[in-house]
Symmetry: C2
Subunit: 234 residues, 2 copies
């Protein structure tokens, strides 16, 4: 069993799929299935089998020709590559509807991202307990980040406050930000930002709906286009 060196640089497209494979493998493992072929995994993930093999090949040669992949071992390897062997506590900025839903969302803690803190500007929210975490004043952000050695921040504040929140997070030492506000955050080089914008998702769906209705009007029964990024037209 080799030590955990980060070997090659893994393509971004592959990194975005590894969590999907991981989730499927975990389900297989629960169902006491301990071997899976690239084709089997591909079917469950909704992708091409060659893509699965290429993706997994970036981690190393962990399959057995003629047999497939050992589910448990693959889980171990993907988790290692994604850095999921340790918990990454997150700090949530904003204890409104969304912030509270996020804090209460079981998926966070279950998957190794415990809520290390949740802060807000509104004194009315201080000390409200959300899923085991007490809401603290925004002023304490920096102290929480430092004391709990947090590197991931979640921005769940209104658009107008998002850039300030991001600035505070960066100043406190956070190096990755998950942004739910519909604004483009400006951050220093070296900070990773991912954005989840619900309105954008809906607008992309709207585009497909609009195409559908136009196609219908023209009597064109051509298939919808394949999607990209995340999501897919089945």
């Amino acid at each position: 069993m080799p030590p955990p060196p980060a070997r090659r640089r893994i393509p971004d497209a592959t990194v975005a799929r590894l969590p999907i494979y991981l989730q499927i493998l975990a389900e297989q493992s629960t169902a006491a299935i301990d071997n899976i072929s690239s084709e089997g995994l591909a079917g469950l993930a909704g992708v091409n089998a060659a893509k699965v093999r290429k993706d997994l090949s970036y981690l190393g040669s962990y399959g057995t020709r003629g047999v497939g992949y050992d589910v448990g071992y693959l889980i171990y390897q993907i988790r290692r590559e994604l850095g999921l062997n340790y918990d990454w506590p997150v700090i949530i900025v904003g204890a409104g509807n969304l912030g509270q839903a996020l804090a209460g969302y079981g998926g966070f803690i279950d998957r190794g991202f415990p809520v290390g803190g949740i802060v807000d500007v509104d004194p009315a929210k201080f000390d409200v307990v959300v899923a085991g975490a007490r809401v603290r004043p925004l002023d304490e952000l920096s102290q929480i980040v430092e004391s709990k050695d947090i590197s991931i921040g979640v921005v769940a504040v209104p658009s107008s406050a998002a850039q300030d929140a991001a600035d505070l997070l960066v100043k406190a030492g956070v190096t990755s930000i998950l942004n739910f506000a519909p604004v483009i955050l400006s951050v220093p080089v070296g900070i990773t930002v991912r954005k989840v914008d619900l309105a954008v998702e809906l607008q992309i769906l709207s585009y497909h709906e609009q195409r559908r209705s136009v196609a219908q009007q023209n009597g064109q029964l051509q298939g919808a286009p394949a999607d990209r990024g995340r999501g897919a037209t089945a």
Copy 2:
């Protein structure tokens, strides 16, 4: 002013960026700025100017050489292309933490996606009013979809119930689904599904954090990789 025909097929990558441009243009419009260059727009969107021009060229030739783009007209054209000239009411399946947060999320209605209904299996939640919508029994899903002519469904139920929810939505006539459950939904050809998986987002951030710590240990001060899909490493 030409009538609204969906002209060429627009690349998926472009469709995914149009909502971002739209949002920025709306901000500009509010600030009484009525002209913008591809470079200006690119700067605000965090992308390359050539990309902006190519993206916009798929809609038609709506810019003026030597001048730039008329903000209002561009907003109109992007909205038209995305099918945002009409409201698209959505139905939310699941009135738990997430479903309620989504229903209450102002961004939905503000951007042309009013909550046409929210349903749940749990009788304890019936008739709870969330952001103006009364939670209804799951049984009524089909009737709500039909009576309000809803084509977009939001799946905000636990993983175990997600496929059932999707099946119900499809049977009721919904053709686009926004899925928040961490499972791959299986739907008939022609139905568009997009997935928002918070754990996946965090795991991608985790990958970058992990690389950072490995790089630090090895004293390699190489830059972090550019991101793909959504989000970006600045």
